[in-house]
Symmetry: D2
Subunit: 143 residues, 4 copies
């Protein structure tokens, strides 16, 4: 397939969890993808902040699609593992997860993710991720 | 507070994300907490499996509450960081995340998490987590 | 090659760092490898305990060789990434790193590592690792 | 103590492992510390490259001292955990680990590390780390 942005948008829209969380795909560039999320009680932890699991979900998804922008044509991607540090509570009007390719490989791509909250006109770094993504054969070739 | 199970149940019920995902708190023991989740399109990734972010959400929550069972009375817990490896797609009727305390400390507790899927009567290990949890002063004392 | 233990021993002996640290390969089983290390000023951090980097070196090596015991014949292994938590200072007469395969795959194997110190006749868990290892074609086939 | 650079240099010189590896403390700035290492057979893995454990040792040490530059006066630091991804073999004349503070806290500081190799006049990114460092009371106050 030769339209990575269209392919990523279709794939994102097929992710039930992204719809359930209320996440929006806001930017697709070569090696970089952003996903935004607004706080709601439905995605909170016990103190009302956005749950670390919801933050991780959009960080992971942003990293995976960033890897897909540099993957071989028709390859699919799969998260092998990730690690996230949570630096501050996610206060503010919205958060944005930015996934970036650090090193693209034939079978494995390493990405970094940063999650920012915008509050009163300034951005704060809320969480950081380091993720390992595998390129896999497209599903049609595997089944 | 002297009823850790009641306190954890109340806290779990106050987590909007757990309700949204459909997660159930299934076991609270000293140093160990389990949370179950059934697959639904609303929590899926693009191929229909449970999203890694949803799996991570219940692993993180199980680890956090496992840490809370051994925390000083009235302390609250906060996830400092975690790392998860995804071993297999989460196939089956349901998954269970089990969080266990590896080392309890005065300010930091380290937990491990395992996520199992039950399929056709047997359990498969789907994901593993290593998490660092901080004990923090209860909110009333911080604000 | 059909002698995994011999192959691992030869490879271990070719690792200059293992000799420099004074590490000993103490056990090779299917899916599990142990490496021992005794404290010495030459491998210490600033307070005299064994340096976290030396502990990580034997944990990583134990995990890598554990993965090699289950890798395709003639494949070589490469550490993609690892994460380690340090639970207690490494006090005692000696430490042992135990690497175990959690999930063996065609291209990626996930291992867990545990590092124990023996002190006054009992064992203490000092550090834990979660590692991702890649199977790669043997060098002769790559060059 | 009011001379962080002097304090870090003294502490570095007291680390037996750094001397054994041949590591050099090359830069101390507010929130950032660099450590260099040259390849030698004594610190190699089985194919002659610098061992991932040696790379991790200088990354961890650079992150720990970066955290120390922003820690409360007289506090000491301790590595809680780290995660490293290895992107390429460490080829070249020398490698440099750069540890940087991402978020300094009262009890916990999060750092990122990057390891570069210089080869034929250009720098390559070899490994990346995400590390959690705890501030602890100075030893005199603990014992």
């Amino acid at each position: 397939m030769s339209d990575p942005a269209g392919r990523i948008t279709d794939s994102f829209n097929a992710q039930g969890l992204m719809t359930t969380l209320g996440a929006k795909l806001t930017r697709i560039e070569d090696g970089e993808v952003s996903i935004a999320l607004a706080p709601r009680p439905e995605i909170s932890q016990q103190h009302g902040y956005i749950h670390a699991g919801a933050l991780t979900s959009i960080l992971d998804t942003a990293c995976g699609y960033a890897a897909l922008t540099v993957a071989p044509v028709d390859a699919d991607v799969l998260t092998v593992e990730f690690k996230a540090n949570f630096l501050r509570p996610a206060l503010g009007d919205a958060v944005v997860a930015v996934g970036k390719v650090v090193k693209a490989g034939k079978t494995i791509t390493v990405c970094s993710g940063e999650l920012f909250a915008s509050r009163e006109g300034r951005e704060e770094l809320i969480a950081i991720m380091q993720a390992t993504i595998a390129n896999i054969a497209p599903r049609a070739h595997r089944e």
